[in-house]
């Protein structure tokens, strides 16, 4: 049995409570018996930054989709819309020096790490003002300053790399952790299990965050995974795992704090399965015929992370006007980023041959 080694989160109970109450966007259910020990987070000062950060990602991604439509962004462009609570909740539990990396669906992670919206958008348009001077694109951006280590286009490749960053943290004698995000599809890669094994064997401070958005391109989890309790995939290695409502930023934050505490105290890796959903297609050219409109609409209307939090904020007495102020602030940031991304010049042709090797 797994139950000894694995921690069951309250995520599942909560999801059930919610659907039982038939909660729509206006009345999210925030009562959970598991929270009894700890008062529910109903403090506006704590929740407002979540609202702001999720909204920034949402609006940024909408703008990116729009700019793609105008031909300003090329190639692949994987939007994070719908999944914002995962990265915002996780980020709230870590600090300077903790490392973050993910796959190609990375814009939200970068913004959550505090990377500049201008630099991210300008990379999408392939301009010199982008984080990679226009040479990486949507899937390949990095910022050592903000502890963001990519942006990886090969499904699953970021997983051992994230464990390697944790290895370096440990080698250097720090208590920093590595947040390594991967998709439900990526979880079927062999290198993930090679990494689970080494991470557990060497007690590496790495948290594997499975963003289970139900699909890998057009393949649903049920068609690709034998056994759908993805948080249990580390059980054979003794890695604790928890299932979390990834549409609820507070649930994510709580799970994140627990996982981070575990890692920082030297107990080794941890797995968090975030039940989440992407509203848009896999990339821009995906007509998403593998799922019904009803399915998408239901998630949007009943589980949207931003709408849910907005309702909570209003419920606890935050003024509508204050939220509108945040909306305006975010709109200005995104508009400015879009302007910058169009006015920043393309890289100079001489950039073609730079950054391949450095002088020994």
């Amino acid at each position: 049995m797994f139950t000894d080694a694995l921690l069951r989160s309250k995520g599942r109970e909560m999801a059930q409570a919610k659907s039982a109450a038939g909660a729509g966007r206006s009345t999210p259910t925030r009562t959970r018996k598991s929270r009894a020990a700890k008062p529910p987070k109903n403090n506006a000062a704590e929740l407002l930054p979540f609202y702001r950060d999720m909204l920034l990602i949402r609006r940024f991604e909408e703008k990116a989709g729009q700019m793609y439509g105008m031909g300003l962004i090329g190639g692949f462009c994987h939007l994070y819309i719908g999944q914002e609570a995962v990265v915002v909740g996780m980020q709230s539990a870590i600090g300077k020096g903790d490392k973050v990396l993910t796959s190609y669906r990375d814009h939200g992670h970068m913004l959550a790490c505090g990377m500049d919206a201008r630099g991210v958008m300008a990379e999408l348009t392939g301009r010199i003002g982008g984080y990679s001077k226009g040479k990486g694109g949507s899937m390949h951006m990095f910022s050592r300053e903000k502890d963001f280590y990519g942006g990886h286009g090969i499904v699953g490749a970021q997983v051992p790399i994230g464990a390697g960053l944790a290895f370096a943290n440990k080698y250097n004698g720090t208590d920093q952790v590595s947040l390594t995000y991967l998709g439900d599809g990526a979880l079927n890669q062999g290198q993930v299990y090679e990494t689970f094994n080494m991470a557990a064997l060497w007690k590496l401070p790495v948290i594997f965050i499975i963003e289970n958005n139900k699909y890998a391109m057009g393949t649903s989890v049920t068609r690709a995974a034998a056994g759908v309790s993805l948080y249990q995939r580390g059980a054979a290695y003794g890695i604790p795992g928890a299932e979390v409502d990834g549409m609820d930023v507070v649930a994510v934050q709580e799970a994140a704090e627990k996982a981070v505490k575990h890692c920082r105290s030297g107990k080794g890796p941890y797995i968090l399965e975030m039940k989440t959903y992407r509203y848009r297609g896999h990339s821009m050219s995906d007509p998403a015929k593998y799922r019904t409109k009803d399915e998408v609409n239901k998630m949007r209307q009943e589980h949207d992370p931003i709408d849910q939090l907005r309702a909570t904020l209003l419920e606890i007495g935050v003024a509508e006007e204050e939220l509108k102020g945040i909306d305006r602030e975010i709109k200005a940031i995104v508009t400015d980023a879009a302007d910058f991304a169009q006015s920043s010049p393309e890289p100079d042709p001489s950039e073609l041959f730079t950054d391949i090797l450095v002088e020994a």
Partner: protein
């Protein structure tokens, strides 16, 4: 203010599409995210979502219209409360949207001069001065000393791989390292090449300097994704931010009688890829001097050793300051009639061939390439300009091999100096057989080099 909704690009290759259906009509209110139309692209039928909220003021392109170019205005969206007359007063002809005018696709490409690829500079070397005081060492010992010396001087350097610690190395190259540096810095891994190569890349991104041992390079094929996609390309993809200071080392090429899966030269595989340096020494001194340089090099270095050579002894400078720069070939025998290039185990065979050729009155110059990427073409070209003939040697297959690359470079830079076509001596185009006689036939031998030289010298 009213905004124009433009025909969107919905795939990386779409330039125009059919406006199949409108899901809204004039006067409808829409919210961001509402589906307003369906468009048939070159790939599929896609839904178009509203980006802003507002009221559909006017539909400019009727449903069913074919070949609507990307960025053509297809509708006008009014702000809540805005009068529809705002649309009527708008010019009827679809004016290009301001944003569209700024799209790079719409601009004529500026006539910028194409940049010129930089030529790798052959580094200077002071290596010769260290040969005043030498000791005799096997290649195995030289490699071990190189790692130990670098680990002593830089605590970011660590060694990981299968059997490198307690077992002292599958080929005993890491002998004694665990005892001196402990298990924090000499790490036995599970048999998990893909995983530990990726993990080491992550450690390098995190500021450490890993030396990854592959038991042999045959098994590095499981790790090649991380070597190329993660280690070699990330500096470029990050605009120079993410270095990957590390070494991948281990035996490469044929051992003896171990069959096809354990006998292959990967030099050309790695030499193909920008972002890597590729080194393959022959002598113990070069093995030591180059491995020290590789460990100090801030780039990912592929260090190809040879199992058959591990036990061979050479003079190695005593000084710990001795290093050999990456990117510099070495003339190991001077000659006037023909140039022979070789690397790793083939250098020994080339030297034997030169000895035999000398008996037959042919003076062969032998160049040990030492580094395969960046290739020291300057030394090769200068030699060919003197000898006017070239034979390349490698153990790997000829197709797309190192000899093919050298022949192309020499044709490019010294075509008029050639008195004969370049000849390639390489492994036969077969998977390595097991039978002793067949293996002998599959591998390039001294005799093959002698024959190739005689043919380019029109002797024979």
């Amino acid at each position: 203010m009213s905004v124009q909704i433009l025909m969107p690009a919905l795939s990386p290759t779409m330039t125009e599409g059919k406006l199949a259906t409108w899901m809204v009509k004039e006067g409808d209110s829409v919210a961001a995210g509402d589906v307003i139309a369906e468009i048939e692209t070159d790939k599929a039928t896609m839904e178009v979502e509203a980006v802003d909220e507002g009221v559909i003021g006017k539909i400019l392109v009727a449903a069913g219209t074919d070949a609507v170019a990307v960025n053509t205005p297809i509708a006008v969206l009014l702000e809540e409360g805005e009068d529809a007359s705002a649309v009527d007063s708008a010019p009827a002809a679809p004016a290009p949207a301001p944003a569209a005018a700024e799209a790079p696709a719409a601009e004529p490409a500026p006539a910028a001069a194409a940049p010129v690829a930089p030529v790798a500079v052959v580094p200077a070397s002071d290596e010769d001065k260290y040969f005043d005081e030498v000791k005799t060492q096997t290649i195995r010992e030289a490699l071990r000393d190189a790692m130990a010396e670098e680990m002593r001087s830089d605590d970011k350097v660590f060694v990981m791989g299968e059997e490198v610690a307690e077992y002292q190395g599958a080929y005993k190259v890491t002998q004694g390292l665990l005892q001196e540096f402990g298990d924090k810095r000499v790490i036995d891994t599970p048999i998990t090449e893909h995983g530990f190569a990726g993990l080491a890349v992550g450690a390098a991104f995190g500021g450490l300097k890993p030396v990854v041992e592959f038991m042999t390079f045959n098994f590095a094929m499981q790790a090649i994704d991380h070597i190329i996609n993660s280690a070699a390309k990330t500096r470029y993809m990050s605009g120079g931010q993410m270095g990957c200071h590390m070494v991948f080392r281990g035996p490469n090429g044929a051992a003896a009688r171990v069959g096809a899966q354990h006998s292959q030269c990967y030099a050309s595989w790695y030499a193909h890829c920008p972002g890597l340096k590729v080194v393959s020494p022959y002598s113990a001194a070069d093995a030591k001097g180059l491995l020290k340089s590789a460990i100090r090099d801030p780039n990912p270095v592929i260090f190809l050793e040879n199992e058959v050579l591990y036990g061979q002894s050479f003079d190695v400078p005593v000084s710990e300051d001795f290093t050999v720069p990456i990117g510099k070939a070495k003339i190991v025998r001077e000659g006037t009639d023909v140039t022979i290039t070789a690397f790793s185990i083939m250098v020994g065979k080339a030297l034997q061939a030169a000895e035999k050729l000398a008996e037959q009155g042919i003076s062969a110059e032998v160049i040990d390439l030492r580094t395969i990427r960046p290739l020291d073409t300057a030394t090769i070209v200068a030699s060919v300009q003197r000898t006017n003939r070239l034979v390349t040697c490698e153990e790997g297959w000829a197709a797309c091999g190192i000899g093919a690359e050298i022949a192309a470079q020499v044709m490019d830079q010294a075509f008029d100096h050639l008195d004969a076509p370049v000849a390639r001596v390489a492994g036969e185009d077969v998977p390595m057989p097991y039978a002793a006689n067949l293996e002998q036939l599959a591998l390039p031998q001294v005799e093959n080099i002698v024959e190739a030289v005689k043919s380019v010298c029109y002797r024979g």
